[in-house]
């Protein structure tokens, strides 16, 4: 019983870590691309700085979405999933 609960908790933590780690790659690359292009645009046309900056922040926030999804999954795995899993285990054993 203790072993099973330990495995559940460990797997939840591991899953959350892997989820966040892999999920952060995509938004990181995407936002880096966006910011580099924005810097280029500002360098070419310094007078359009405010428009470029606001558009870039907007685009960055939207590119962040997939990262936020993985964050939500990670938070669920850490704070919500262990309780549910342990309860399922207990009811399956019949405690």
């Amino acid at each position: 019983m203790e072993l099973a609960i330990g495995i559940i908790l460990g797997c939840c933590a591991l899953g959350a870590g892997i989820c966040m780690g892999i999920g952060a790659i995509g938004p990181g690359i995407g936002e880096g691309n966006a910011v580099s292009k924005a810097c280029e645009a500002i360098g070419r046309q310094p007078e359009s700085k405010s428009a470029v900056t606001s558009t870039m922040i907007m685009g960055c926030a939207i590119a962040e979405t997939t990262g936020i999804y993985s964050l939500v999954i990670a938070i669920l795995l850490i704070f919500v999933a262990p309780n549910i899993m342990v309860n399922i285990l207990k009811s399956a054993i019949g405690l």
């Binding site: 907007m58 926030a61 936020i68 999804y69 939500v72 938070i75």
Partner: protein, 306 residues
């Protein structure tokens, strides 16, 4: 003249109280209902009380109460800003209110086109509600936007609006738009249609929640660190988490102030773009024209018959 000025000031103070009272009420309710917490913990919205219902009990949570309080607060702000509006030389707060209204109207007009100019109050409502709900965490209250139910409610409302304006081009055209560019993409199109409200809700909720989670984690870590470094000092000095001063405040400036305003802006922006982007302008105009022609023909028939 003096009497009038006095009355104006009294109403002013009452309106200011209407702004501040909901926030105070939120704090008082939180203090009254919340159980004494042990240490720092990350929990969802607290359930104040449950109303028994036939099918399932209806829990009244912190998030619902706080979002209602925010609504009253916004009402107070609107009344206060527009109190004493006069033509001619504007007062200071009238100038501010006019600036806000004009900015929002021009924003809506720019992003949604002239057909949706009437949407400015709705967009302003969403923007204010979302921004103030997130900023509520500055007072130590539970931000309603870090509960997925509240944000999902707004997202579903926006989804209904999107579908309504898509249906204005005719039911058949709406169904046909799912099979474009080819019929095989039907399931994917349905999936992407359903994903719109889900992604809007999760984007907003995830950003606000991540801010609060990171803030709690960092302040816990700093308390532990200061216990480790300064724990050998005698008495109060050792127990006081000295390292916790400063850094959480700076983080809160980003996560609570910048991020919440940003998310509110993005939510409003996506609402505008989704509603105006899904609306088939040419189909709607064609349908309207055909309807008008039909009606004219019918009237002609009626006239010739009689």
């Amino acid at each position: 003249m003096k009497n009038k000025e006095l009355r104006f000031k009294i109403v002013d103070v009452l309106l200011l109280a209407l702004i501040i009272l909901p926030l105070v009420a939120g704090l008082v309710i939180k203090v009254l209902f919340s159980a004494p917490a042990e240490g720092i913990s990350i929990t969802g919205a607290q359930i104040y009380f449950t109303i028994p219902m036939p099918i399932q009990n209806f829990p009244v949570t912190e998030a619902q109460v706080n979002s209602l309080l925010v609504v009253f607060c916004i009402l107070g702000i609107c009344l206060y800003m527009t109190h004493g509006v006069r033509a001619g030389v504007p007062t200071r707060r009238q100038a501010l209110a006019e600036w806000a209204v004009e900015t929002l109207e021009s924003m809506v007009h720019e992003n949604m086109g002239p057909f949706f100019s009437g949407f400015a109050p709705f967009i302003a409502g969403i923007l204010a509600l979302s921004a103030l709900s997130s900023l509520l965490s500055l007072l130590g209250l539970f931000a309603p936007t870090s509960d997925v139910n509240i944000v999902a409610g707004w997202a579903i409302l926006v989804f209904i609006l999107i579908t309504y304006y898509k249906l204005k081009g005719g039911l058949l055209n709406y169904m046909k738009s799912f099979t474009e560019p080819i019929f095989v993409l039907l399931p994917l199109n349905i999936l992407s249609e359903v994903a719109t409200p889900i992604s809007m809700a999760f984007r907003h909720y995830g950003n606000v929640l991540s801010g609060s989670v990171i803030a709690v984690l960092i302040s816990t870590a700093l308390a532990g660190l200061s216990n480790l470094v300064l724990g050998w000092l005698p008495g109060v000095l050792g127990e006081f988490p000295l390292l916790r001063i400063g850094l959480p405040g700076i983080l809160s400036l980003y996560f609570d102030v910048f991020s919440s305003c940003m998310q509110a802006y993005i939510f409003a922006m996506l609402t505008m773009l989704n509603i105006s982007g899904g609306f088939p302008q040419d189909l709607y105009e064609e349908r309207k024209r055909r309807k008008a022609e039909k009606r004219a023909a019918r009237e002609k028939n009626a006239i010739s018959n009689s």
